[in-house]
Symmetry: C2
Subunit: 283 residues, 2 copies
Amino acid sequence: MNILEKITQNKAAFSKSERKVAEIILANPQTAIHSSIATLAKMSDVSEPTVNRFCRRLDTKGFPDFKLHLAQSLANGTPYVNRHVDESDGPGEYTNKIFESTMASLEVARQSIDVNTVNRVVDLLTQAQKISFFGLGASASVAHDALNKFFRFNVPVVYFEDILMQRMSCMNCSDGDVVVLISHTGRTKSLVEIAQIARSNDATVVGITSADSPLSKECTYVLSLEVPEDTDMYMPMASRIAQLTLIDVLATGFTLRRGNKFRENLKRVKDTLRGSRFDKRDL
Amino acid sequence: MNILEKITQNKAAFSKSERKVAEIILANPQTAIHSSIATLAKMSDVSEPTVNRFCRRLDTKGFPDFKLHLAQSLANGTPYVNRHVDESDGPGEYTNKIFESTMASLEVARQSIDVNTVNRVVDLLTQAQKISFFGLGASASVAHDALNKFFRFNVPVVYFEDILMQRMSCMNCSDGDVVVLISHTGRTKSLVEIAQIARSNDATVVGITSADSPLSKECTYVLSLEVPEDTDMYMPMASRIAQLTLIDVLATGFTLRRGNKFRENLKRVKDTLRGSRFDKRDL
DNA sequence: ACACCAAATGTAGTAAAATTACAACTTGCA
DNA sequence: TGCAAGTTGTAATTTTACTACATTTGGTGT
């Protein structure tokens, strides 16, 4: 865990002098990591052993070890904590907060992804006769993006924003078709219905949605993304970003998989051509 | 810069013994940060001053300072380096690489954003009579997403995928209208034309595009995102993600500026959606 | 091939930093 | 008031890092 947060949390448990040290470090962590224990003791107006005890209380081996932890907390990237925007924030603040929370959400999403399912879905997609991407509301643009990506692969791809078109499309599904349904909550009624229609027409249904949702129960495969809930009103839907990134992952997997096959194919063509050519040694 | 990369890069410039130290550190950086200079010297089979000189050569103040840098490089999150996917990668690897490069790109984008322009654009949007979002290809889905976000604000928002519709819409622009054009490269001809049409009809044109592009020259305001170029074939378009996040930033700025009354309105929109969803307690 | 110079490396001593053990001081409670 | 538990500081010890200088290595020109 981030040691800066830890200091803030344990603040109550510290003794008076230890708290002095905590204040100084929190106020100026960058200085702290470049100071010796003596300097820091003087700044906090306590003795050196007090600083040392402070470090130990935070489960570090001693002052140098503490500095290491602190340095890591301060390292670029780590402090991507889900910081919420509040009303008093200026443009600089909310810009940074949003970027940082987005990155934090991506990190959480990354860790929650089940690689095996990704692999199976990629497998499925490469073998699909037709791929459909459907989503509603905020997820519609994600489906839209997926269309863009997969369209380049020269595969039959389908995307509709309209519920009725989505339904009709699913009714025409058959064995070998893959329907990818995107929904953060997984509670959108019409999308759940579409999953049922697609399944009853022998299509494989892949859900990019949250686990244990009504939608996930209707899917053949579920790629769940555990993105922190967008509880805050100002909070952007980080889930979309995670979904898009997941689409990127699928598209990449697709390219890699098809790439291999494609290269083998190339080689076979070359071999076939050889017969119609003069060999090098014949020259 | 990440010190681990630095070590790898400068490897050639090192002396024989220094290289020994480099090898040991690269092979086991986690151990290195918890070792004293003496231990590390013994492991590398060199003398202590050699280790010290090694540290100095990397522009650190000495061994402790070097450890600090190393710790930061090893910190969770920092190694979000743009790692490229290669053909031999398995699902686990490419998934991680894509998430990490996306995060890395977001970080770069964050640093490149001009907050003042963000502020001015938010200002503009809050006062706009009508807001249009246009993009083509991959950027179309970003515009689509923007539509979704701003639609909730109960502001007249327009979005078209069709070039002709985009043109016509811009021809009907008037003073007070804001047209947001999204394009990673900023070299899409028809989008540049649309910018010109919109401007000549007194609309304010905001470009979410790269600086110094043809499109940027036609815009009233440019929000440039310096996202690393997607050179690699397997590389996903991280630029879209950055654009989306920027849209989030604008939307958030918009909400903040509009104040309390407006936020109540937002809540009402959310409540309305409830009817189309399965309730949590229904499970 | 040899001598010489410069760069690289190591040795030993020194300075600095961190830790330990213990003493003195608070603080709360009987 | 006095004592016990917890807190803080002092001083000595140990560990760690650094510096100055000596030795070695490798390369270059005669």
